[in-house]
């Protein structure tokens, strides 16, 4: 092992780590705001990459129909719960319409745009929009009525959502994998390193997203509302911050981050309907490194996971996943020894 190999492995690890960092951030975001350990985070990655892949063939992706179905389900749930509270038909229909309108609009635009074979960038934006719209709907359908349940119940729901989303992914995209065309065909030879345009885009996107997230939480009212919910849900509700809309916003952001990650890895690997799970789990390991509570911690953890994975597959490729996931044990031990307080109730 010489410096050439080390540098190539480092670059590979950091490129993968950048994607894990995004997913780790999303996991932390969702957990702090809603206390949901969001296992299906990876499914958004696969959905994002595969939706774009299907659009590339000029067909309407199955996710569009799923989006419509989920929007209808969410809207009727909304209407029913409104009706039970207020016994007011107009208000019930109004709130149902509010849930329905955005996903329906995105779906309609996608149905129209899919056969037009727009440039790759336009299709990528559309794919991201479709997957992002899933976020709030998943929250509305699966989690919102259980908002006050224990983290354990929410975790079990997450497992269910994960299986449902993987199964639907298989139904819509089939068992074979897809590889997307690169956004930037650049190839730079820097010494022994082969830097691809795709890797540069991955780094820039990850960095930009992290900065944007930081600005959002520090500077915007909505971001501050989310932070308030994360710190103290009851207190935030007393201050007039709706925990429903905080949850939906957090899920929308998680879905957006997932979709972007999918677009970023799509050109450099073959994505299958079930590829997302392992990627998401690695993001989760990164989030655990940060104790599910710190964004910079999650980022550092993710880069660490990426590098360990890269060196692990060099030395003992058959045990790569074992190495990555065994990492979680000493980290949990260290965290539980270090943290004196109980993380159970936020």
């Amino acid at each position: 092992m010489d410096s050439t190999i080390v540098s190539i492995l480092l670059l590979d690890g950091l490129t993968n780590g950048a994607v894990y960092a995004l997913l780790g951030l999303a996991t932390v975001l969702v957990f702090t705001v809603t206390r949901v350990i969001f296992i299906p985070q990876g499914e958004f990655v696969a959905y994002g990459a595969l939706t774009l892949a299907v659009m590339q063939t000029g067909k309407v992706p199955g996710t569009v129909w799923l989006l419509l179905c989920m929007a209808v389900v969410a809207a009727s749930m909304e209407a029913v719960s409104r009706w039970q509270h207020h016994r007011n038909l107009v208000a019930a229909l109004q709130s149902a319409f509010k849930v329905l309108v955005l996903p329906a609009a995105i779906a309609l635009v996608s149905v129209w745009a899919a056969p037009q074979m727009f440039p790759l960038e336009v299709q990528a934006i559309l794919s991201a929009a479709i997957v992002t719209a899933f976020g709030p709907l998943v929250y509305r359908v699966a989690y919102q009525s259980l908002e006050d349940a224990t983290p354990l119940v929410l975790l079990i729901v997450s497992v269910g959502v994960h299986f449902a989303m993987t199964g639907l992914g298989l139904l819509f995209f089939g068992a074979e994998g897809f590889r997307n065309p690169p956004f930037w065909e650049l190839r730079l030879a820097v010494g022994p390193l082969n830097i691809t345009g795709q890797a540069i885009i991955t780094f820039i996107c990850s960095l930009a997203l992290i900065v944007l997230l930081w600005l959002f939480f520090e500077r915007s009212l909505m971001g501050k509302a989310l932070r308030a919910t994360a710190v103290n849900r009851l207190g935030a509700r007393l201050m007039g911050i709706s925990s429903h809309s905080s949850g939906q916003l957090a899920f929308a952001m998680a879905a957006l981050i997932g979709a972007l990650s999918g677009l970023l890895i799509g050109p450099s690997t073959t994505v299958f309907y079930d590829s997302g799970f392992l990627i998401g789990l690695k993001g989760f390991v990164a989030a655990v490194v940060a104790g599910l509570s710190s964004y910079p911690g999650a980022m550092v953890g993710a880069l660490f996971v990426g590098i360990v994975e890269s060196f692990g597959s060099f030395w003992a490729s058959a045990f790569k996943e074992v190495i990555v996931f065994t990492l979680i044990l000493p980290i949990l031990l260290w965290r539980s020894l270090q943290g004196g307080h109980s993380d159970e109730e936020h």
């Binding site: 190999i5 190539i8 492995l9 590979d12 993968n16 994607v19 298989l170 089939g174 068992a175 074979e176 994998g177 897809f178 590889r179 082969n194 890895i265 450099s268 690997t269 073959t270 299958f272 079930d274 590829s275 799970f277 392992l278 990627i279 890269s310 060196f311 692990g312 597959s313 060099f314 490729s317 058959a318 790569k320 996943e321």
Partner: protein, 377 residues
Amino acid sequence: MKFATKLIATAAATLVSGMALADITIGVSIPLTGPASGLGIPMKNQIALWPEKIAGEKLKVIVLDDATDPTQGVKNTRRLVTEEKVDVIVGSAATPVGIAMADVAVESQTVQLAATPIGLPPGKDTWTFRLPQSNDVMAHAVVAHMKKQGVKTVGFLGYTDAYGEQWLKAFTAAGEKEGIKIIAAERFARTDTGVTAQALKLTAANPDAMLVVASGSGAAMPEMAIVDRGFKGKIYQTHAAATKDLMRVGGKAVEGTYVVSGPVIAPAQLPDSNPSKKLAMDFAQKYDNAYGAGTHNQFAGHASDVTIVLEKAVPLALKKAKPGTPEFRLALRDALETMGRTVVAHGVLNWSKEDHWGYTMETGVIVKVTNGDWKVE
């Protein structure tokens, strides 16, 4: 409802013909939904093209969907043997399902023709015959081709699952005889996002050729990583990668790859000396006529081979017993074991009491990816 109508129709037909229940019943359980549906659906298409009679006996075929689920596969098989009293079970096309079904085949003493290369412990496969080639046979073809090309050292990049493991064993054994050695062996999983590190280690070992062991569209990513690292030697792929998905995903990067496969992959290009050429071409033509040009694949080929095999074995079994009886099923098994060399579309079979894999070493064909299509070497 459909089932009930069928039952009534069958009952009526039985009354009319006065106990002419000597039809041969074939029970098929294949994945029409789930992850392996891509393998089961072409089989179902081919089954629709099966002849109405085999060896002069009317054929009754029941097709059930096992949803790529071992539990469902076992349920289907039980239903087929107890309710339908089938003479032969065909399926599954998915390995885990096929393995689970083999137990029922032994228990009910019914021949199972599996469309997947299932490995079973000794004694468990007494009623199971495999239609696909074993990895040993395919490894033999790869080694023979490598020897001709002057390859001495090989880098191995394969799945971390049973398929990768079996290939490593088969190839190491076959290579040893010809002096071809694996100098580096690396692993990856189908859903991995990259194999840069493995490719780096393999290219550093600088072998004459690389053997990639992966399936379907999963086979392209590892090969592209090897090419990306500037590997200039020959790259070989196994028969699980012998689908057009390799080119669809891999594009230009997989150009020039050698892929081992059964003869059905490109029958028209086979040399006339290949014993399977006529049968393979016949199958491919009929399938393409029915479902569109270039749509035939190896799994439809297995379904086609079922009838070829039965055509030869059933007359032998009929001499001993009537269909629908346990004696007939036993006679059919004996016939399959003793009928000797049988040419099918997928190669040349020679099943015996000890060997239920049966393909002879002449079966494997090496094709090269040329301009996004297969070219027989």
